[in-house]
Symmetry: C2
Amino acid sequence: MGFFGDRLIEKIRKIGNPLCVGLDPYLEKIPPLFCDGPMTPNDPRTAEATKHFLMSLIDLLENKVAIIKPQSAFFERMGWRGIKLLEETICYARKRGLLVLMDAKRGDIGSTATAYAQSFLTEDAPLRSDALTVSPFLGTDTLEPYLKSARNNGAGIFILVKTSNPGSGDFQDMLVGGRALYEKIAEKLAPLSQDFKAPRTGWSSLGIVVGATYPAQGESLRNLLPNTPFLIPGYGAQGGGADDAVRTFVKGPAGYEGGIINSSRAVIFPEGGNTSTPKKWEAAISEALQQAVDGLKEALAQKP
Amino acid sequence: MGFFGDRLIEKIRKIGNPLCVGLDPYLEKIPPLFCDGPMTPNDPRTAEATKHFLMSLIDLLENKVAIIKPQSAFFERMGWRGIKLLEETICYARKRGLLVLMDAKRGDIGSTATAYAQSFLTEDAPLRSDALTVSPFLGTDTLEPYLKSARNNGAGIFILVKTSNPGSGDFQDMLVGGRALYEKIAEKLAPLSQDFKAPRTGWSSLGIVVGATYPAQGESLRNLLPNTPFLIPGYGAQGGGADDAVRTFVKGPAGYEGGIINSSRAVIFPEGGNTSTPKKWEAAISEALQQAVDGLKEALAQKP
């Protein structure tokens, strides 16, 4: 199993780009190609059509990206059939060599956090993933069950620090003794991240979430957390540019590195893409994927 | 459907106590009475045994408490079968007239928050509940989808403000311009809570979570949020006493009121309770329930 920090960074070096593709199955955006009726959330045919859509996507992502990020909410919306589909999606992707980062942003007190860790991170977890997003709001004691599970199962954690949404400043930017709350959180995480440093690459199995939409804040966080992989959402549809997305990357043995940059909608629901036949849909997805990858590669190559 | 604030408070007045029973099905604590083998999370027999346990519990809670609070994590731990069980549990409880507060502590950016709201709060949500716990950490823009769904579907929201765990002070107590972060959050929520005031009782459909383990902080929050129902976890097993639990309650037409006080383990897994036969188990649960109710009633009667 090894260390998540090593598995992630080594996989990115091998694949050659840091793109993470977010699987957010908006039911109303799935092309009619995959469904022969309305996509009602509680209808078993909806989960079936979504499965067909997701498996076809994963086939196109294999060997093109290191990691995918399913968003739990869109599966939960379909009830138990959605969770069954989520289990199948994780399994299908991992068998194809993709790392799976579960975006569930869980956060709860100790005993409940343990149950969440057992849902997503342990060997026998039904939704066993390579890593999980976690909220720090309840305090560092509530992170311990995830950290323990991560350590025992070679998994990773990405802790929310500065999120990509327009209102993320409401609380995360509040000034605490002259520093923003997100920086205070990063300060508390620094020793933990150091503890979780993976031996081969030196990158930690404890990561943080920093929106591509806040590049300056990202730089300040990189100074506090030099070996922490950043999950950078907001590239593409949310308006974050490639240059901003790679701002926190640092020189490594195979070029700049520093985490993963997520794009969801721009890749899996490309605007204006022709989706009338399977071949045309595949071409549209492959083109959107290539664009996202090329944008990052170019930004990394031109990094000052 | 009406307003959640009214439904909650009127139900509490009718039932005569503010106890909320938390349904946290720790698999290893479910009495052998309900299972004929080891409770392996992924085994279909585990979900069946847990269903039997929970339905039997709900039968004993009917007309004794106003509201129950299933903890999503313990269901997620069983994979899709756990979510199917959660759907059945909600349905069974609501048919018996119990209000259901889903404790899932969700929090995510706009479009994802909408998917969560559609999972738990809308008319067609697979896990349709009367109310949902939500994290404010990502900012007030991320609360809007839940508020919109709550408004359109007569549902409620309980926003985490000061949680019951020992480390909740790590970030929630950080001083921002002379006030604790949890107070700053409450200040931001005050106008929203006012907007959601229900017409008959004057209590809001927007509530907050305040641990019984922090009674002084609760008092300061009550000053900021006079019409906001508090969900007060930590009574019982977590060490919060009855007097502390009702500290933030205020005089109403039928005695002191102000929200709900949760006990999970102390009621559903009573220590030292004889669980060798169904009759004895029922007696043990009923006794634990009565103790929790009496403790609160006494504290309310003696409130200075």
